[in-house]
Structures are given as structure tokens and as C-alpha cells.
């Protein structure tokens, strides 16, 4: 049974078996980890404290103050640092609340897909036999269906909303978790201390979640970052196509779609949300790469 060999991070003996405190000491020294981690932290804080940071209510419309340019344009308006959108809503506040939506969806979807993927991976890796074959078939089936198409079809049916997007993405982004967990479980399960635990009669759950899982935490962290970035961009694409987060919620993808008609004369309306998406996805990817360096010791 060959699953398409995706780039599963390698598992040298010592590095992953005991993720020591040394990890953090090394992490701090890792330049990209520091840089991208800081950005990610900043965005998360902005998302959490959005109500405090946003100068205005992101939903308050002021139709008389429409399409005001940001501060770097000469015709800007002092009280709106980044100008206003087509309905006169403060663009800075909407971008800040947009961070909250992107982070909620990213974390929600990734958490959900992690739970699904890891459980499937653990069960498949640990039991093997026909269970493994069945789960591997499910994984391959999932891999052979393009995510964005399925997500759009399902959301179009059920009716788009924030919660639906999280659930749909959560149900689609688990394949990497399953693949990595399955391979890692198979390797770890063969080790003596796991057979020892089994001999001592500890329960299955104990073995899976207390023995095996802690030791494959490192590669899973890497997969989590990749899927988070994936979720951010997928939500934005769904919202851009009108089948993700619905108005008036300030999702960056939706803001891009709303600004499409006025992008020729007020280009900042599409540059700003797009840039936020790019920075968030880039930061998450860089953290992922750094983690991959620090844990699996793989080449950069």
C-alpha cells in the first residue's frame, strides 16, 4: 500500500524522541523563527485585542465619507488613518477585525483537522492490518479531491457562514496530519518502551496519547503551521468568491471582493487586505520552516 510519498519530515533518532527545554534555547537563536514568530504573535494580539485597538466600529457606515484615501494620499482624512471603504466604514478597524476572523478560522479549522487527522493516523499506524488499509484508502480519496472545489460545493449547499467555513475546512485539511502521524506512529510503536507499556497492560488510550503522541509532537507542529496558512488562504478564497464569510463581517478575502469594482481608482482597497493575508500566511509559513529546521534537523 503506497500512499503518495509527500514530503513527511524525517525522524532521526534522538532529536524527536525527547523535545527538551533545549528546544526553546535553540529556537530563540534561530533568526527566522524569532522574526516570523514575532509577526505571528503581533497579529494574534491584534486579533485578540481588536475591540481595544480598532479606532471605530468596523460595521458603522458613514455613506457621506465614502472611499476616502489613506494617510499617504494627499486627499486623506485625518481621523481615518487608512481611509474608508465603499460604505464609509473605517478601513483600519475592518482590517484589525479581519485579523480576528482569519485567526479564528485558521486556528479553528486547524484544530479540528488536527483532531481528525491525528486520531486517524494513530489508529492506522498503531493497529495496521485492514484498519490501516481502510484509513489509507480514505486518505488517498481525500487527496484526490481538490479542496477548494469541495469546499465551495459544500458551502454553496449548506449556505455560507463563518461557522460553516470553519467546519468545512476542518473536514478537509486533516490529510497531512494523518499521513505524518501514521508514519511516525508506526516507527514509534515498534520501539521497546511502547511494547513495554503494552506488556504492563496499560490501556490503549494511554499508549496512544501518553506514549506515542508526545513523541511525535515536533513534526505535527510543523504540519499544523502549514495547514494553518492553508486555512487562512482557503477562507480568503472562499470569501472572495462570495461563498465564505458573508457581509458585513470584515474578512480580508471578502474585503478584497467588495473592493474589486473600485480597485482601479482606489487601489489601496485591494492592496491592504491582500498584504495582510500575505503577511499572515508568510509569517505562519516561516514559523513552520523554522520549526522544521529546529526539530527534524532537516536541511533548510
Amino acid at each position: 500500500m503506497t500512499i503518495p510519498a509527500l514530503t513527511t519530515p524525517s525522524l532521526p533518532e534522538e532529536e524527536t524522541l525527547t523535545v527538551r527545554l533545549g528546544f526553546w534555547r535553540k529556537a530563540i537563536a534561530h533568526r527566522t523563527f524569532l522574526f516570523s514568530g514575532a509577526i505571528l504573535l503581533a497579529i494574534t494580539l491584534v486579533a485578540i485585542f481588536a475591540p481595544m485597538l480598532a479606532p471605530y466600529d468596523p460595521y458603522a457606515q458613514n455613506i457621506a465619507m465614502r472611499l476616502k484615501p489613506p494617510f499617504w494620499h494627499d486627499a486623506n482624512v485625518a481621523e481615518h488613518l487608512l481611509g474608508t471603504d465603499q460604505l464609509g466604514r473605517d478601513y483600519l478597524s475592518r482590517l484589525i477585525y479581519g485579523a480576528r476572523i482569519s485567526m479564528t478560522i485558521a486556528i479553528g479549522a486547524t484544530l479540528m483537522s488536527a483532531i481528525i487527522g491525528i486520531t486517524l493516523g494513530l489508529v492506522a499506524g498503531y493497529f495496521g492490518g485492514w484498519i490501516d488499509t481502510a484509513i489509507s484508502t480514505i486518505i488517498t480519496t481525500r487527496l484526490s479531491m481538490p479542496i477548494i472545489l469541495i469546499a465551495l460545493a459544500v458551502v454553496a449547499l449548506i449556505g455560507p457562514s463563518l461557522q460553516v467555513v470553519i467546519v468545512v475546512l476542518g473536514l478537509l485539511l486533516w490529510d497531512q496530519f494523518a499521513v505524518v502521524t501514521r508514519v511516525a506512529t508506526q516507527q514509534v510503536a515498534a520501539r521497546d518502551y511502547v511494547t513495554a507499556a503494552r506488556v504492563l497492560g496499560s490501556s490503549l488510550a494511554h499508549i496512544l496519547f501518553r506514549e506515542i503522541l508526545p513523541n511525535i509532537r515536533a513534526p505535527l507542529m510543523v504540519v499544523a503551521t502549514v495547514e494553518m496558512a492553508h486555512a487562512v488562504l482557503l477562507e480568503a478564497a472562499l470569501s472572495f468568491l462570495g461563498l465564505g464569510v458573508q457581509a458585513p463581517l470584515p474578512s480580508w478575502g471578502l474585503m478584497l471582493s467588495e473592493a474589486k469594482t473600485s480597485m482601479f481608482f482606489s487601489p489601496w482597497l485591494i492592496v491592504l487586505p491582500g498584504a495582510c493575508l500575505f503577511i499572515l500566511a508568510l509569517a505562519i509559513n516561516l514559523v513552520g520552516d523554522a520549526l522544521r529546521d529546529l526539530t527534524a534537523g532537516g536541511r533548510g
Binding site: Y59, Q61, Q86, L87, Q246, A247, F265
Partner: protein
């Protein structure tokens, strides 16, 4: 084994591909070869004028086919076209004298037999004419002689001539019968100024018909070829007109039109139209028998909640005006004074909601399509009084069918009345108990039926006024404003927008 030569050739190919296409010239010429490229919004499944009755469909029908008579866009008077003269024999019969020597695009002569066949075929509802209102008045058409035909209506049909001029194109009977309706829609033959050269893949290519007759109301076209490109996305259409990819676009939101004025190569226009915008409310309870909108107080609250002045001033632009009755003031029988007027008063709206038992508000689905800014503005006004409106922006036809199928409680749509200057095309088709009708108020339906089948103008006006009073009193709608059509086209083009929202490219020419 991969030779080095093979490998470098592949690399070279990719690079050449990239470079050679970088400086490509757009595929369509402009003034040089008397052709024009249009950026239109609606996708056509067919070119059959009786099926494709969406706005763009009515426009292209006018170019491919001719009707018996022609309504002058400025004076709204009827002028001869395929018919040189016509006469009302009695209440139900009109006789048309046809012009001789007129030929269809395939050269076959146009005779009374073609006219009769077309009317009789489409009068039969089983043949699936999309807007039944335009054909249901016809009982039958009879051939008197080769160039005389009589059209007999089922009853008094006051707006008959409006329909003959606006929505009844004449088809070649032999060709139509030989290929069948399906195929006819893909490869149509008409008697209009342009014939269809190709249709498919997002492009309809129309070429001027050399054999087009003289003396009719439509001039022989000076623009010889029309590349009718279908680009549904508004932003892409705007981009194409700015970059010269297309020469003419419409359906541009008004705030964009103001900004497009700054582009030196473009002329813009914000022309008022017969089109009326409204927030239709599901009074009949199609989205759910007990939904809040079935309560008149809730509907009145919605009327009070929306600040129509600000929307018209900022988002409609041009000479758009507020409407208080569900019809366009220019249309016969549309008496705005008969309507109950609801001033913008959110406090009163909240009181009414509380009175109706929805103090902490409720949520509903708001469908819309044409202009996202206006839709979100209405959404926020409703939110201000506690109504959580979930906005669903779709393509025009999808949004329209979501209203007809009762999937949305409120629908911020618009209705062009097929550019017919008679209330029967607005009031008459939106409150006649059909799928457009969100109220299904029996008395209103009855009033409209009577107003549509009596000849005396005073009596018709009285009945429409009564219908308007009931509709606005029961607040079945929130009549919003007239729609202003945004045009943008290269300043090398000589083009005049018209009130009936039917751009005539056979009248346009290159400067």
C-alpha cells in the same frame, strides 16, 4: 536518455512562449474596420428573443430581429418598421400592412405567413415563452393576404402595441420549423439590421446584414461588426474598458462612473431609466408561513428604517429619484400621489417592531445583485433597528430566481418593465399573483386584472391608483428609487444613452 539539445529546446520553448505573447495586440480592432467590442454582463443560454428576455437579451433581440412597429425612444411614439401601417379594426383586432421586399438574413422573403406563424407559435404557453405577460393577450393571428395580417386579442388589450413594438420579434417560419426552437436559439435567422456570425464561448459576433431594407425606423448601421463579449464580473468589465480591451460597457455602479470620468480616453454617462429599485418583502410568507414579514407593522417598520435620501444622494447618483409607488412615474397609471409615504424614522421603526412583538429584532435573508454597496447600506440600516439581514449577493438571474422561489425574505432587486411605459408592465407583472408577487393580495390582483382589460384610460388610472394605495398601505414593498444606468465608452464613439435603457448600436458610429 535526454539529450542536452532536447532539454535546452524545452527551456527555450517556455521562454519564447512567455516573450512572444508579452506584446500581443488585443484581438479586436476598433474604428479602423468599423467594428465595436462591447463588454456585456449577462450570460445567454440562447439567442431566442422569446426565451432570452433578460435586459441584455432584449437589447440583442432588437439588433438581430425586427418587430412589426418601432417605439421612438425619445417620443415613445410608434413608428413603422416591418409594418408600414396598422389600424384597430375593433376592441380586440389590429390589422397590420407589411412592407414589401423585406428579406430575412438567409435571403428568404418576409411575408404575413411568417408573422402569423410567429405570433401563433409563441401565444401557446406550452412553447415556453419566458415572459408570458407579453404573449398571453394574443388569441390568434390571421393571414389576410401576403402582406396583410390581423392580430386578434383574447380581450381588450390596451398595452398590445407596447408588446408588439417591444417584445415580439418576427421569425422565419420555414427555417424555424426545420431546425426547431432549440437549434434556432443557437443559430438564429431574423430580419434585423445585424445577422449572427458566431455564438459561443463568451462571445456573440454580429455582422451588419447587407440586405437590410431602407425606410424603416432603424437606420442602416454604420458600425459593420459587433463583438458582443460576455464579461459577467463588473471589475473585469471596468478594467477592459479602461485598458481598451472593449469599447463600450454599461451596468457600471454610479460611484465608479464618476471616477471613470477622469480617464481621458473615455466618455461616461449616468442616464435615468424606466427601471425601478425596491426591497420586495415576503408578505405572503413564502419563506415560512409565520415569518415576521407577514405582519404589516414589521413591513412598515422596514419602510421607516431605510434612509432612502442618503442612498439616492450618495449611492445612486445621476438624476436618480426616490420612489413612493411600485412603478415608474413616466409609466401610464403610475400615480405617485396615491401612495402612502414612509419617512426615514428609525425610532418609529423600533416602536412598530416592538408593537409587533419583535422588540429584540429577528433575522432574515436579504437577496440582491446589481450593486453591493447599496445592498450593504440597506443591510446596515436594517441592523440599526435590530433586523439581522444575511446578505446573499449573486448573479442577476440567480438572485431573481431566489426571490421567485421564495428563498429570500427580502429582495433588493429592480425591474425594468421591458422598458414599457405602462403600469401594467410594472405593477401589472409584480403583483399579479405570479412568482414575482411577494404579497399575493387578492384584491390587488383583481384590481390589476381589471385595469389590464379595460380600454378607458380614466378607469385604468383609477384602478391602478387604488392598487397603489393598498400596496403602500400594507407596505408589501419598500419602493426605493429609480435606477440610473452607468455607461462608459471610448470617446471616439458617437453614442446616445436612451431612457428606455435599450442601447442602439445601429444608431452609433465612430467619430
Amino acid at each position: 536518455m535526454m539529450e542536452i539539445r532536447k532539454f535546452s529546446r524545452i527551456l527555450g520553448l517556455c521562454a519564447a512562449l512567455g516573450a512572444s505573447t508579452a506584446m500581443a495586440v488585443p484581438a479586436y480592432a476598433g474604428p479602423e474596420d468599423q467594428s465595436i467590442t462591447l463588454g456585456m454582463g449577462e450570460d445567454f443560454p440562447t439567442l431566442d428573443g422569446y426565451i432570452n428576455t433578460a435586459r441584455d437579451g432584449v437589447v440583442i433581440t432588437m439588433h438581430i430581429y425586427d418587430m412589426l412597429i418601432y417605439r421612438n425612444p425619445k417620443t415613445f411614439e410608434y413608428e413603422p418598421l416591418l409594418a408600414t401601417s396598422w389600424e384597430r379594426i375593433d376592441d380586440r383586432t389590429i390589422e397590420f400592412k407589411l412592407r414589401e421586399g423585406v428579406t430575412f438574413h438567409d435571403g428568404s422573403p418576409l411575408t404575413a405567413e411568417d408573422v402569423a406563424f410567429t405570433y401563433n407559435y409563441w401565444a401557446d404557453p406550452a412553447n415556453g415563452a419566458r415572459s408570458q405577460g407579453s404573449v398571453s393577450w394574443i388569441e390568434r393571428a390571421e393571414v389576410v393576404d401576403d402582406y396583410t395580417v390581423r392580430v386578434i386579442a383574447k380581450g381588450a388589450a390596451p398595452a398590445a402595441l407596447e408588446f408588439v413594438a417591444g417584445s415580439l420579434p418576427i421569425y422565419p417560419s420555414d427555417y424555424f420549423q426545420s431546425v426547431g426552437p432549440e437549434e434556432f436559439g443557437q443559430k438564429p435567422i431574423g430580419a434585423g439590421p445585424y445577422k449572427v456570425e458566431s455564438f459561443g464561448d463568451g462571445l456573440v459576433k454580429l455582422v451588419a446584414y447587407e440586405g437590410y431594407y431602407e425606410g424603416g425606423a432603424k437606420r442602416t448601421p454604420s458600425i459593420k461588426t459587433i463583438n458582443w463579449r460576455i464579461i459577467p464580473d463588473t471589475a473585469t468589465r471596468i478594467a477592459e474598458v479602461i485598458s481598451g480591451g472593449v469599447d463600450w460597457v454599461w451596468n457600471i455602479p454610479s460611484d465608479q462612473v464618476e471616477q471613470l470620468q477622469a480617464v481621458p480616453t473615455l466618455d461616461v454617462a449616468l442616464a435615468s431609466t424606466l427601471r425601478i429599485a425596491m426591497v420586495a418583502l415576503d408578505a405572503a410568507g413564502r419563506t415560512g408561513a409565520d415569518n415576521p414579514l407577514t405582519d404589516v407593522r414589521v413591513r412598515q417598520a422596514v419602510n421607516h428604517a431605510i434612509d432612502r435620501e442618503t442612498i439616492v444622494a450618495n449611492l445612486v447618483g445621476g438624476d436618480g429619484e426616490i420612489l413612493n409607488a411600485p412603478c415608474h412615474p413616466v409609466q401610464f397609471g403610475c400615480d405617485q400621489s396615491a401612495a402612502v409615504i414612509y419617512e426615514y424614522n428609525p425610532e418609529k421603526a423600533k416602536e412598530l417592531l416592538a408593537e409587533a412583538g419583535y422588540a429584540d429584532g429577528f433575522s432574515l435573508k436579504l437577496g440582491s445583485y446589481r450593486d453591493r454597496s447599496r445592498a450593504e447600506a440597506v443591510q446596515s440600516y436594517l441592523a440599526a433597528i435590530g433586523i439581522n439581514a444575511e446578505l446573499e449577493m449573486l448573479q442577476a438571474s440567480a438572485s431573481f430566481s431566489s426571490w421567485r422561489e421564495g428563498k429570500v425574505g427580502a429582495w433588493y432587486g429592480d425591474w425594468g418593465s421591458f422598458s414599457l411605459a405602462d403600469s401594467s408592465a410594472s405593477l401589472g407583472t409584480m403583483f399579479d399573483g405570479s412568482s414575482n408577487d411577494g404579497a399575493r393580495d387578492e384584491t390587488v390582483i383583481q384590481l390589476i386584472k381589471e385595469a389590464g382589460s379595460v380600454m378607458d384610460p380614466e378607469e385604468r388610472k383609477a384602478k391602478y391608483a387604488e392598487a397603489i394605495r393598498i400596496i403602500t398601505e400594507k407596505a408589501y414593498w419598500v419602493p426605493m428609487h429609480t435606477i440610473v444606468m452607468g455607461y462608459a465608452y471610448t470617446n471616439a464613439l458617437d453614442f446616445e444613452p436612451t431612457l428606455d435603457e435599450l442601447p442602439r448600436f445601429y444608431d452609433a458610429s465612430w467619430k
